[in-house]
Each structure stands twice: as structure tokens, then as C-alpha cells.
């Protein structure tokens, strides 16, 4: 604050010294009248990934990239067809999907309950929010050994890890959404005769929705990530099982295939949430612009 008047006093003097005669600039247009052929943006954007796959294919085909390091894309594709035909891949996806779904549902239920209690009640906030902050500091992947001690090596620790990974992003985003409700809107709604239940239904929950959807996107990607970690431990079915099996026989084609499937599942979930967001948030005039 104290330097401000000083700066203001200095500035005009400096200006006078530097730019004594009035200078002018010419702004030249960059719009081209006759445009030559340009590659469409979508093609340019696709060029990178397609080029990399092509490079992968070429280095594999010429033997520069040995199969023991990374299988060629052709082999990966062949494995995809074979494993789909003999039912191994669909079976693995179903087993993993089941774990992800159950874990997600449990985690989402816990997160929703905790965030509502913490968001709506002062007492809930005092008790829950500080605890959640404390638990979040623990890296959840590090809990795998403890979960094995508690739940054994079957399905339960895997589902528990997914549930845990899902809980944090959903909790913090929904809680934050509830707490960022515009107090002016709450006041106006109260003035219009809304009771406690009406306020929650019409004001607080809708205003928490955008945050909740962001949390959902994080939660789903965390669910798959948690699954990858969990399935490394003594799985007898699922994508992780397929992967650790392949690892023992140095089958890089199967490993790569599993990674691709994980990625595709994650992308599909993300896409689903984006569609959902677009549907639920039509009232936001600025929502993601056009299409």
C-alpha cells in the first residue's frame, strides 16, 4: 500500500523520458485471403497416436523391438480375438467389472452418507470432516497388506480397496458442493416458505450436483486404478489375474492387451459421466460450450 503513491508519481516521469515523441504502431492483419489446403484439426490430432502405433508396428515387424520387451500390435490384436473367442477375456472383464461395481456402490453409499451428514449438520461436520481429512493423508494403496490381514486374500480385500478409493473423491466433492451453496439462495428460498426438507431438496442438493459429478469422474477412475492394484494380489479371476499369469510366461502381448482393456473401461466410464453431466446440468448456460 505504501509503495503505490510512489509508483504512481514515478511513472509519468519515466514515460516522458522514454517515449517523448508520440509513436504509432501499425496493426497488420494476419487473415489470409487465399487459403491454401490445410489439414483438418481432427486429422492432425489423430496423427500423433496413429503415428506412434505405426512406429510400434514397424519397429516390431523389423525386429528392432523384440517381443520379450513389447509384443507387436498385431500380436496384441490377435490375442484379443483369441481370448475373446475362448471366453477368457469376457470372463475376466466380468469378474473385474463385478469387483469395480460392488466396490464403487459401497464406496459411493458411504461417501454420500458421510458427506450429507457432514454437509448438513454442524455436529456431523465437526466429527466427520476432520476424521476424513486425517484418513485421506494415509495412501490408500498402502493399506493392501492390512486389508489382506483383515479380509484374507479372496474378493473382500479387493472390493474394500475399490470402495476406499472411491469414497474420498466423492466425499470431498459432495461435501464441498454442499458447503459452497450460495447463502443468498438459501435465504431467498427460506423467505419463499421452503422448510428444511425443501431447502435440501431444491437448493442444497442441486447446488452440490456439479461438484458431485466431478467427484464421480474422479471416483470412477480411482475405482479402476484401485482394481489394478488389488488384482495384483492373489487373484483367481479378472484382468489382474490374466496379467499376472501372462507375466509368469513373459507374454507381453497379453499384458498390453489387459492394459488396453483397463484404459478402455476407464474411458467408457468417463464418457458415461460426461453424458450424465450434460443431461443433469443443462441449466448451466455455460456448460462445456457447444456439443
Amino acid at each position: 500500500m505504501t509503495t503505490k503513491p510512489l509508483d504512481a508519481a514515478m511513472l509519468p516521469q519515466q514515460k516522458e523520458v522514454v517515449a517523448a515523441p508520440s509513436t504509432r504502431v501499425t496493426i497488420r492483419g494476419t487473415a489470409k485471403v487465399d487459403r491454401r489446403f490445410t489439414v483438418p484439426r481432427s486429422v492432425r490430432r489423430a496423427a500423433g497416436p496413429v503415428g506412434l502405433v505405426l512406429l510400434w508396428f514397424l519397429t516390431s515387424a523389423t525386429g528392432v523391438l523384440p517381443e520379450s520387451v513389447l509384443a507387436s500390435p498385431v500380436d496384441v490384436l490377435r490375442q484379443a480375438v483369441d481370448l475373446t473367442k475362448n471366453g477368457e477375456l469376457p470372463h475376466a472383464i466380468a469378474a473385474s467389472g463385478r469387483r469395480a461395481a460392488i466396490g464403487f456402490l459401497i464406496g459411493a453409499t458411504v461417501a454420500l452418507t458421510l458427506s450429507l451428514v457432514a454437509g448438513l449438520f454442524r455436529l456431523g461436520e465437526d466429527v466427520i470432516d476432520s476424521s476424513m481429512g486425517m484418513f485421506r493423508a494415509i495412501p490408500w494403496v498402502g493399506l493392501i497388506p492390512l486389508f489382506i490381514v483383515w479380509f484374507g486374500i479372496e474378493e473382500t480385500p479387493k472390493i474394500a480397496l475399490v470402495a476406499l478409493g472411491v469414497t474420498y473423491p466423492l466425499y470431498f466433492n459432495i461435501y464441498g458442493g454442499i458447503r459452497s451453496t450460495d447463502s443468498q439462495l438459501v435465504e431467498a428460498a427460506r423467505m419463499m416458505g421452503l422448510g428444511r426438507f425443501g431447502l435440501i431438496k431444491y437448493v442444497i442438493l442441486p447446488s452440490a450436483l456439479p461438484g458431485a459429478l466431478v467427484g464421480l469422474r474422479y471416483a470412477l477412475s480411482t475405482a479402476w486404478l484401485a482394481l489394478v492394484f488389488a488384482e495384483q494380489v492373489n487373484a483367481d479371476a479378472g484382468l489382474g489375474y490374466l496379467m499376472s499369469n501372462a507375466q509368469q510366461y513373459f507374454r507381453t502381448d497379453v499384458i498390453v492387451l489387459c492394459l488396453v482393456v483397463y484404459a478402455l473401461l476407464g474411458l467408457a466410464c468417463d464418457f458415461a459421466v460426461r453424458i450424465l453431466s450434460r443431461r443433469l446440468l443443462t441449466w448451466r448456460a455455460n456448460f462445456e460450450g457447444e456439443a
Binding site: L185, A189, M191, G198, Y202, T282, W283, A285
Partner: protein, 238 residues
């Protein structure tokens, strides 16, 4: 006529800082009262108390049970269509016909099914008025409802409020810091200072009012004087 609002010995302090100071005020049924004052003089606090949004008060306040408010920002719920906003909080199922009637009164029935974010400032303020009036209030509280509007829109919405007041016959308390607005609309103008009603004037001019008449100009000069504003630069067109 009977009193709609009765305030006796009202005081309100925030952390030991007294904002309202043993304030007395009556508003008659159907009376249009404007409340003028500098920022921080306690006028918005008084309005919030009358709205029932603040009850940590000393003294006694009697207000009609049926009262509603419009604020400086329209405060519409962005996730409800315009007509749902209008009937928000009314008992029973959302009554679309009722909402349309109220929106028609403020002249924007055709925007009933859009999202509030797509409305202009003036349109949103009209919806906010419709939302307040659909409740058939006996007391309507207006907290600088024209403050955020541009000059042209403001004039139109002011005229609309005058019209709606005639139609509904409710008592209105308008909080503003625009002297001309107060004199154009109100039966009585109060000037608040340091938590009290410091001055009061009855505006006995025929409606619709003309802000160029000598009476108007005299009243305006008096109010500005009470507010401690001396205007030597801005003359009145004569």
C-alpha cells in the same frame, strides 16, 4: 387504516456493534414506504428482520404472516425453470397456471419455460417480483431491487412496481439509496441514520409523479440535505 407493521424498541447489535438503536416504526396496510440511508446505516438489517431472516433482536416486531421479498440480485434457483422458480415453496404441487398468471402480470409469460441463466437482468428481476407477488403478500419487502439494473430498464421496472402495488394493494417497504426513486414511488419516505429513523416525510404528490415539478424538486432537496448530500453540480432541468 390498521397497521400492517408495528416495530417497538427494536435494536440489533453485531458483536457489540449496535446497528439498530431502539427503533420505532409503523407501516399502515397498503402503504408504500421508502427507506433511505447511507450504506451501513442499518436499513438492510431492518429489512432482514422484517423478513424473518434475522431474529437475534431486542424489542418487538409485529408483521403480517403473509410477506415476501425481492432482493437486489434476483436470487432465482438456476436449476429450476422460470415458472418453477415462481411457485417455489408454495404448498401443493407446482401450479403452472398460477405461475403463468404471475409471470403475465410482470410481462414475461413467454419466458416461463427457460432456464434463469438465459434471462437478462431486467427479466430476472421481473421474475423475482412475480415470485414475490404470487404469494399474495400483505407486506412486500424490496431490498434495492432496481440497484443492479441499467437506467432504462430501471425506469420500466419502477413503473411496473407502482402498477403492481396499485393492483395488489399490499404494504411495501422499499429499501433504496436513490432519492428520486423513493419520491417517485412512496407515500412516505424515511431517512435512517445511525440505526434510527432520523427523518420522515409524507409525499403528497399526485401519481404518476413528475420529477420536474417544483414540489418534487423541493422534497428532493430536503431529502438530500437530510442525507448530508449537497449537490451543486447536478442542477435540475427547468
Amino acid at each position: 387504516m390498521a397497521n400492517s407493521v408495528e416495530i417497538r424498541g427494536l435494536s440489533r447489535a453485531f458483536d457489540g456493534n449496535t446497528v439498530l438503536h431502539d427503533l420505532d416504526l409503523d407501516i399502515r396496510e397498503g402503504e408504500f414506504v421508502a427507506l433511505l440511508g447511507h450504506s451501513g446505516c442499518g436499513k438492510s438489517t431492518l429489512l432482514r428482520i422484517l423478513a424473518g431472516l434475522d431474529d437475534e433482536i431486542g424489542g418487538e416486531v409485529t408483521v403480517p404472516a403473509r410477506r415476501s421479498a425481492a432482493f437486489q440480485s434476483p436470487r432465482l434457483l438456476p436449476w429450476l425453470k422460470v415458472w418453477r422458480n415462481v411457485v417455489l415453496g408454495l404448498p401443493g404441487r407446482p401450479d403452472r397456471a398460477l405461475a403463468l398468471k404471475a409471470l403475465d402480470e410482470v410481462g414475461i409469460a413467454e419466458r416461463a419455460t427457460v432456464w434463469p441463466k438465459t434471462l437478462s437482468g431486467g427479466q430476472a428481476q421481473r421474475v423475482s417480483l412475480a415470485r414475490a407477488l404470487v404469494r399474495e403478500p400483505e407486506l412486500l419487502l424490496l431490498d434495492e431491487p432496481f440497484g443492479a439494473l441499467d437506467a432504462l430498464t430501471r425506469g420500466k421496472v419502477q413503473a411496473l412496481v407502482a402498477e403492481l402495488w396499485q393492483l395488489h394493494g399490499c404494504a411495501i417497504l422499499l429499501v433504496t439509496h436513490d432519492v428520486e426513486e423513493a419520491l417517485l414511488l412512496a407515500d412516505r419516505v424515511l431517512v435512517m441514520d445511525e440505526g434510527r429513523i432520523a427523518h420522515e416525510v409524507t409525499v403528497d404528490l399526485p401519481r404518476p409523479r413528475d420529477l420536474t415539478t417544483p414540489e418534487f424538486v423541493t422534497l428532493r432537496a430536503r431529502l438530500l440535505n437530510w442525507l448530508g448530500v449537497t449537490r451543486t453540480l447536478e442542477g435540475t432541468p427547468s
